[in-house]
């Protein structure tokens, strides 16, 4: 296991690369969800405002 983490001496280049890429993969999922949730909330607000208007 230690040998695996050591990455033949390249650990300080390999692991940050993987960590950054996977962080961006996860963040993009979160950002996409939030973007949809925000658009849905805005659309709901617009519908409410219109039905409230005379």
């Amino acid at each position: 296991m230690n040998e695996f983490l050591h990455m033949g001496g390249y650990a300080r280049f390999v692991w940050p690369s993987y960590a950054l890429t996977l962080a961006i993969v996860v963040l993009n999922i979160e950002w996409a969800r939030r973007s949809l949730a925000r658009a849905r909330a805005e659309a709901r607000r617009r519908l409410r405002n219109r039905s409230a208007a005379p």
Binding site: V14, P16, L20, T21, W31, A32, L36, R46
Partner: protein
Amino acid sequence: MAWTWFHRLASPPHVYALSARLTPWFAWPAGALILAGLYGGLVLAPADYQQGDGFRIIYVHAPSAWMSLMVYVTMAVSAAVGLIWRMKIAHAAAASCALIGASFTVAALVTGSLWGRPMWGTYWEWDPRLTSELILLFLYMGYIALRSAIDDVQRADRASGLLAVVGVVNVPIIHYSVLWWNSLHQAPSVMKLAKPEMPAAMLVPLLMMLCGFTLYFVALLLVRLRGEILRRERSASWIREALAE
């Protein structure tokens, strides 16, 4: 009659519902392929005879770089379709791409830099491949900035769409830069199907990562597309039903 599918692609309620239905069909295979590719790349693939375990950065660097280009081309083609046929859905797709592409361009640049340090002896060099990839990041950032500066969605679509289409000239420059100029960056070793330069144990995980990231992009695009459709449909009655679900 044969064209009905094309017309339905221009229908917001249809695309909204279809996107929601299709998302898991891309998301789950993407997750499985990426996990398998990670295991194959980190554990099963043998160390490179020159670069040792340092070469394993390829399994995150190449998919990120592939995303940066594929997403840009998707964005530019969608923007062109939107501009030419005044198709709202196409503009919505283009707008969905920008942040995804920009973030993976950052990943490609940083992982490339982390790979360059041990192999080339430098984090950064004003090399044609590296410089043109950096310009790609600026194009994405310009696109995002332009959109956020214009409040009206239709005007933002037209202005940013034009920028996306013009910027596409950079894509072949990035791709061929390693062949046209004397570059530190290696020439492609995967996109030559005739004679791959990697043993299968190295190549298969890489292909899994590339396919996995592509499917992952489609899933992200489908989720974002729904939001962008809602933003463009101010008064459609179908939204009431779509939101009720």
